[in-house]
């Protein structure tokens, strides 16, 4: 397989060092180190409760880690290490770093009171303070990219799950992020609708977008992922190219995990 987006590749887009996250007494992430290469797809897999979503949410600064650092293009996200210790950055600084990150949720999280086009243009208008005409032109271009230009005037309630998720992807892309995070983007879709979303993601990967994808679609992880990280109990247990991670002999923990996902494309690895 040829690496996608060869030209955009190079360097580390996001790096995680020593990340620890607790919910109360429960340590959910126990010292995560991970480098996300620019222009490549990184897939996070692992059993339920292993901390995949929590790690991704820390990268989007939706959760604040208790220790460790996240650098986005070299800039600290959320907290800075100073001689006086770890310090929370001011909100404007956090928003600035966050602006280069897009997030796509399992539940789409489209705003129900706005049309598809409204959802895509809202941040352009409110955050980027773009004029209506310019924002709408840009929004329509994004909707075209995900194949939904003809649904611009529809409300989320009038769209299928797959269409809603594609609008959500367009909404993130409108701000031209450098990194896209996906948390199980197809898990709440009917099986026949997952394909259209995965196709959009494959297209993005081919365009050289840096992506971190939490997915139970093992087939997608194995075919598009440049690197795969297998989380278990808040640690990265295995990490490398799909060939390294999925190749035999396999770690017994991974073997057991794959057994439960045979119908999600893991069969092709057998």
């Amino acid at each position: 397989m040829t690496a996608p987006g060869e030209s955009a590749a190079g360097g580390t887009a996001l790096s995680v060092r020593g990340l620890v996250k607790r919910f109360g007494a429960h340590e959910v992430l126990s010292g995560i180190d991970l480098d996300v290469p620019a222009g490549r797809v990184t897939c996070l897999i692992g059993p339920s409760g292993s901390g995949k979503s929590t790690l991704l949410r820390c990268m989007a600064f939706l959760e604040e880690a208790g220790a460790g650092t996240i650098l986005v293009g070299g800039e600290p996200l959320g907290f800075a290490e100073t001689p006086q210790g770890r310090r929370r950055l001011p909100p404007a600084r956090i928003r600035a770093v966050r602006a280069s990150i897009g997030m796509v949720f399992q539940q789409f999280n489209l705003w129900p009171h706005m049309t598809a086009l409204g959802n895509v243009t809202e941040a352009l208008r409110v955050v980027r303070r773009m004029g209506r005409a310019e924002a709408e032109a840009k929004g329509l271009a994004q909707l075209r990219k995900v194949g939904l230009e003809d649904r611009a005037g529809h409300y989320p309630a009038q769209l299928s799950g797959g269409q809603q998720q594609r609008v959500a992807i367009a909404r993130s892309l409108a701000l031209e992020p450098r990194i896209m995070l996906f948390d199980e983007p197809t898990s709440s879709l009917d099986p026949e609708l997952t394909g259209e979303v995965l196709d959009v993601m494959r297209g993005l990967a081919a365009d050289g977008m840096t992506m971190v994808v939490v997915s139970h679609e093992i087939g997608f992880a194995a075919s598009v992922g440049e690197q795969v990280a297998f989380l278990d109990g808040g640690r990265i247990l295995l990490h490398g190219s799909p060939r390294d991670v999925f190749g035999k002999p396999r770690h017994p923990r991974l073997e057991r995990f794959l057994d439960t996902y045979l119908d999600r494309g893991a069969a092709m690895l057998a």
Partner: protein
């Protein structure tokens, strides 16, 4: 029972003036009450914990006693702490505070009804908290809280009648006076009830219009 239309016609200007006072005090206290209630709800949700607790007490106290008692305390007790108000400002203030306690609980429920993911999506796109409240949370909750807001506003209208006890020249005071003057109590009170009913219906109608307009996205089929 015969209705003395001549008498009613003679009193019509007074009745109209009094109904103007009722509608004005009601509308002002509803608008100010919603604004104050929304501010209380926002402060409780986003402010530090002591602010939340202090405002919770404010809400509990105002919901924990009859409006009549609060009105008396403000009007007759106010001068002891240097707050001497004329009847109309006193009535307006009491009604606004009373309404704001209930309105704040409605808005609080509204915030809770907006899925956290919708707020997180805005945060990821770089919205400030104020932008998220104004552009996402308030419009999204509006359709959910509208029936409760209309309901409370109708209750507030009926509480304006209580202002007659501190001599606010509103409809109940005026029409009771006409009743005593003419011994036509039944006619007077029937007229009064009809008048309030008309206002309640108008308010409900406006609410339904607003709801239909706001909710077009919710029930739309694919």
């Amino acid at each position: 029972m015969t209705v003395d239309w001549g008498l009613l016609a003679e009193k019509l200007p007074d009745v109209l003036a009094a109904s103007g006072v009722t509608v004005a005090v009601w509308a002002a206290s509803a608008v100010l009450g919603v604004a104050l209630g929304a501010a209380v709800a926002v402060a409780r949700r986003f402010g530090p914990r002591p602010v939340d607790l202090a405002l919770k007490l404010f809400v509990e106290v105002l919901r924990g006693s009859p409006f009549l008692v609060q009105l008396f305390l403000l009007y007759f007790g106010g001068p002891f702490i240097g707050l001497s108000l004329d009847p109309i400002p006193a009535g307006l203030l009491a009604l606004t505070l009373y309404g704001s306690a209930y309105y704040s609980e409605i808005v609080r429920a509204g915030f809770a009804a907006v899925p956290a993911g919708h707020v997180e999506a805005a945060a990821c796109l770089g919205f400030t908290r104020a932008q998220t409240v104004l552009r996402i949370q308030v419009p999204e909750m509006a359709v959910l809280v509208l029936p409760a807001l209309v309901n409370m506003t109708v209750l507030l209208l009926k509480e304006t009648a209580v202002l007659s006890v501190i001599t606010v020249p509103e409809l109940t005071l005026e029409i009771s006076a006409i009743g005593s003057e003419t011994y036509r109590f039944v006619e007077a009170l029937t007229l009064l009830a009809l008048f309030y009913w008309g206002l309640v219906e108008a308010c409900g109608g406006l609410g339904r219009l607003a709801e239909a307009r706001l909710s077009r996205f919710r029930f739309a089929g694919p």
